[in-house]
């Protein structure tokens, strides 16, 4: 039953959730899914999951979120982080997912290099999407 939502102690305490919490320094369960992060996100239209959905899947211990495009679309602009009513730094959760992915050998983002790109853009992109 694919549509079944299983909430279990094992899922909530999954090593994956603890790793995301450890890397992000955030309590992912502080999020009550108001969606303000997604409303603030200027890049949500390019994402496959809204930022609040990403956090929800992390709460549920769903490692499938590692395959999502959303963290790799995030520009770390921190609009979500300054506006979260629960003080969750969503950008740090996105970074934790990127780092976890990169450390497992995932490099889902292609660098689209053109000769006019300044180093300020290259340095930023390299730090966010290369291991």
């Amino acid at each position: 039953m694919a549509a079944e939502l299983r909430l279990s102690r094992e899922n909530l305490n999954a090593p994956f959730v603890r790793k995301v919490e450890e890397l992000s320094g955030q309590n992912v369960f502080a999020c009550y899914q108001c969606g303000k992060c997604s409303a603030s996100c200027l890049f949500a239209e390019h994402m496959d999951l809204l930022p609040n959905q990403v956090v929800r899947l992390v709460q549920l211990g769903d490692e499938g979120v590692m395959g999502a495009r959303a963290p790799w679309v995030c520009a770390a602009c921190l609009a979500c982080s300054v506006r979260c009513p629960r003080g969750v730094d969503v950008a740090r959760i996105m970074e934790a997912l990127r780092q976890l992915g990169l450390r497992r050998g995932l490099t889902p983002v292609e660098l689209r290099l053109t000769p006019d790109l300044p180093q300020i853009a290259l340095v930023g992109a390299m730090r966010k999407v290369t291991p």
């Binding site: 450890e22 890397l23 992000s24 320094g25 200027l42 890049f43 390019h46 790799w72 679309v73 520009a75 770390a76 602009c77 921190l78 609009a79 982080s81 300054v82 730094d89 950008a91 740090r92 996105m94 970074e95 934790a96 780092q99 983002v109 292609e110 660098l111 689209r112 290099l113 006019d116 790109l117 300044p118 180093q119 300020i120 853009a121 290259l122 340095v123 930023g124 992109a125 730090r127 966010k128 999407v129």
Partner: protein, 275 residues
């Protein structure tokens, strides 16, 4: 003469050379001697958000050590991204355990002791004060309608924000003191897409279109920024049909206002036509 120790960053030595030259001349005209930090290195442009990513604090803290070696308590930046990474790493090593670990790694350097305040040009100009800027503003900006575009890194996170992260007025205050008419527009605090220029240029173009449209609709004749990446995106990653709004650096309009650099023909014409 008061001395300022200054961290340029890579952009100001390359594509943003005009920003550096204009600003340094203007700052000197305001009575300050600017000394470039010796042997500085890249700030990293984006702050490491992962808790265990210590390595990416090494570069910023190394720069703080260079400032400490100069006996500086303040380090001036013109680039918003440099300001953000350097000031956040400075906050990061306020935690004694973080400081100890970073110092232990950089065993070839003297220990960083804390105590360097990273300062962005907008903060420095605000601290100089509007009266002093207004006195020095000759020929001034002659009522030029300028939309200040803050972008992200001067305002977020709150801990390093140069002003209120949602409702900043610091750049408008400076521009008004210099004789411009500041134009507020809703997109002024929203991201330009930053380094997505490398991975998702189409997302950047959409953002740049929105920002320029927002500024133009609210009557701006010129958009001013303090970030070389915003400047690049706003100029070089415009979508088709975007308003043909000129974009300049804050330091450039400062230089025009103080008369250390002439107002470019293109801008002067805009103002002339309106009057």
């Amino acid at each position: 003469m008061n001395r300022l120790v200054y961290f340029p960053g890579c952009a100001l030595k390359d594509q943003a050379q005009g920003y550096e030259a204009a600003t340094l001349a203007a700052v000197q005209a305001l009575g300050y001697a600017v000394q470039e930090l010796p042997r500085w290195n890249c700030c990293g442009t984006v702050y490491a958000l992962a808790q265990d990513d210590l390595m990416r604090h090494v570069g910023p803290v190394r720069n703080l050590i260079r400032a400490q070696e100069q006996g500086a308590t303040e380090l001036l930046t013109l680039c918003a991204m440099c300001y953000n990474t350097l000031s956040r790493s400075a906050l990061f090593v306020r935690n004694p355990e973080n400081l100890r670990r970073i110092n232990a790694f950089m065993d070839e350097e003297e220990d960083y002791r804390g105590g360097v305040r990273v300062l962005h040009l907008v903060q420095w100009l605000a601290e100089i004060g509007p009266e002093r800027l207004a006195r020095a503003a000759n020929p001034g900006l002659q009522g030029l309608r300028i939309g200040a575009y803050y972008g992200c890194t001067l305002l977020r996170p709150k801990e390093v924000a140069v002003d209120h992260p949602e409702k900043p007025e610091i750049m408008e205050g400076i521009l008004a003191a210099l004789g411009a008419e500041p134009v507020l527009f809703p997109e002024r605090v929203e991201c330009c897409g930053a380094y997505l220029a490398v991975t998702r240029p189409e997302a950047v173009r959409l953002r740049v279109g929105s920002i320029l449209l927002s500024a133009a609709h609210h009557g701006a004749e010129l958009v001013v920024t303090a970030c070389p990446l915003c400047h690049f995106n706003l100029r070089e990653r415009r979508p088709l049909g975007a308003p043909r709004l000129p974009v300049a650096y804050l330091g450039e309009v400062l230089a025009w206002a103080l008369g250390t650099q002439p107002i470019p023909e293109e801008i002067a014409r805009t103002v002339g036509v309106r009057r």
